[in-house]
């Protein structure tokens, strides 16, 4: 019996091995993915993102317990950064996820970014596909601690929760573009701290402006009203509220267009796969041949410019 066979019978050791195989981009990983691919009809992907120390892991910990208690199967992907210098990583999200042990409905996997800079690893969407193929109902994707522009989570997940804290005052100003625009739900964690009420009101007024700007066409469906949900993850406060907001967004998406979010997801997954494939092939043919070095010589000696050469190299690669 191969690992893939055992995976298909629901063996969790095999699940972990398949994830590694895909994550490592081992030879034939895409064939494995195509065997596993289920279309994710019954799975919903929820992303949690936000600045470092906002409490993303603690929220995932609470959410997963809440969902598992409802009988749902929950797969968790917790991403932490790889060192750009050593390539190593310290993956510590489990420290905040102590409630998840001994629960057969829950599976937690830590992932290092391995060179990606968008807040997730390049393989994160494929690990989602693996978890969907295994039959999880909900996938919680926790990004690295982010600033403004690490927005990959928006193309991988169906609902994005942006987590912030009362101390994020100035950060909210900075978040007006980027992070702010991908939030479907805002979670104000550590909301028992001073200043929580004020920052919630501030954020809601910014969101109101955003909403008015977006209300243009008369016949278009009413835009989603991004809620701000206060929580205190370590005291298990507000978690059911948070999940209710996520569920409302899920309903909103499927009412607007029942197959819509699956189309959007399929589209972005496909674009990501194509980009990676193109990059990989291009790298293999160009970087491993002498073409690149020859081109560099031409540029340095003044016989050609990089823009023309880039087009020539690309065209010759496409014909080959």
């Amino acid at each position: 019996m191969t690992t893939l066979d055992r995976f298909l019978t629901g063996d969790r050791v095999a699940l972990a091995k398949v994830i590694s195989f895909v994550e490592d981009r081992s030879d034939g990983y895409d064939r494995v993915l195509s065997r596993i691919f289920s279309g994710g009809k019954t799975t919903y992907r929820v992303g949690l993102t936000g600045p470092p120390g906002a409490g993303k892991s603690s929220l995932v910990n609470r959410l997963a317990v809440l969902l598992a208690d409802q009988g749902l199967r929950v797969g968790i992907i917790a991403v932490d950064p790889s060192s750009p210098f050593s390539g190593g990583a310290l993956l510590g999200d489990r420290v905040r996820m102590q409630a998840l042990y001994g629960r057969p409905e829950i599976f937690v996997r830590s992932m290092a970014t391995r060179g990606s800079s968008g807040g997730l690893a390049a393989a994160t969407k494929d690990v989602c596909v693996v978890l969907e193929g295994f039959g999880f109902d909900i996938i919680l994707v926790e990004t690295v601690g982010v600033g403004q522009i690490e927005l990959d989570v928006a193309s991988v997940c169906d609902t994005v929760v942006v987590v912030f804290v009362p101390e994020s005052g100035d950060a909210i100003q900075a978040m007006k573009s980027g992070l702010m625009e991908i939030a479907n739900v805002f979670c104000l964690n550590k909301s028992d701290r001073p200043g929580a009420e004020r920052i919630k009101a501030e954020l809601e007024s910014i969101l109101d402006v955003h909403r008015q700007v977006r209300m243009v066409a008369k016949d278009s469906p009413p835009p989603w009203e991004t809620p701000v949900i206060p929580t205190v993850a370590i005291r298990d406060t507000g978690i059911a509220h948070l999940w209710e907001a996520v569920s409302q967004h899920r309903r909103y998406r499927s009412q607007a267009d029942p197959a819509g979010f699956r189309k959007a997801r399929a589209r972005s997954d496909l674009v990501l796969s194509l980009t990676e494939l193109t990059h990989e092939r291009l790298e293999r043919t160009l970087f491993e041949s002498d073409q690149l070095n020859l081109a560099v010589e031409q540029i340095v000696s003044g016989r050609a410019d990089p823009y023309t050469i880039a087009h020539q190299l690309f065209d010759s690669w496409r014909r080959s």
Partner: protein, 137 residues
């Protein structure tokens, strides 16, 4: 590309985690992916995390004297759950004769006070080099 993945754990009631954090940083700097699970882990928690994370190694730090209970229990659970290929090693205050006894039972090397981080990195790399990857399909 395959990365060496190591789970580092502090099982039992011992709260002295400075040593294991030094090891975690050293392994990260050596290019490995280190999963740190925090304090007061039971053997069941250690093994469950190791399986989900598909690690190649488990490193346990025990300074409480409970090593003759905790190491064999983790080994037993790994075999029981079908994860016997994960290599278990460790460190702490472990008398020589008990070290020998644990190694006889199948635990890897146990590092005592004065060990350099380089020795541990070298050890992990040499064991990893001998491991073969099984095909998925």
């Amino acid at each position: 590309m395959k990365k060496i993945r190591v789970l580092l754990a502090k099982p039992g009631l011992d709260g002295h985690d400075r040593g294991i954090k030094v090891i975690a940083a050293a392994l990260r700097d050596a290019g490995m992916e280190v999963i740190y699970t925090g304090l007061r882990q039971t053997p069941e928690m250690v093994v469950e995390a190791a399986i989900q994370e598909d690690v190649d190694f488990i490193g346990m730090s025990i300074l409480s004297g409970a090593h003759m209970t905790l190491f064999p229990e983790v080994l037993r659970l790994l075999k029981e759950k079908g994860a016997g290929t994960i290599h278990l090693f460790g460190g702490g205050i472990i008398p020589d004769q008990e070290s020998v006894e644990l190694e006889k039972q199948g635990v890897g090397k146990l590092f005592g006070p004065g060990t350099t981080t380089e020795e541990i990195v070298t050890y992990i790399r040499s064991v990893a080099a001998k491991k073969k990857q099984e095909p998925v399909m």
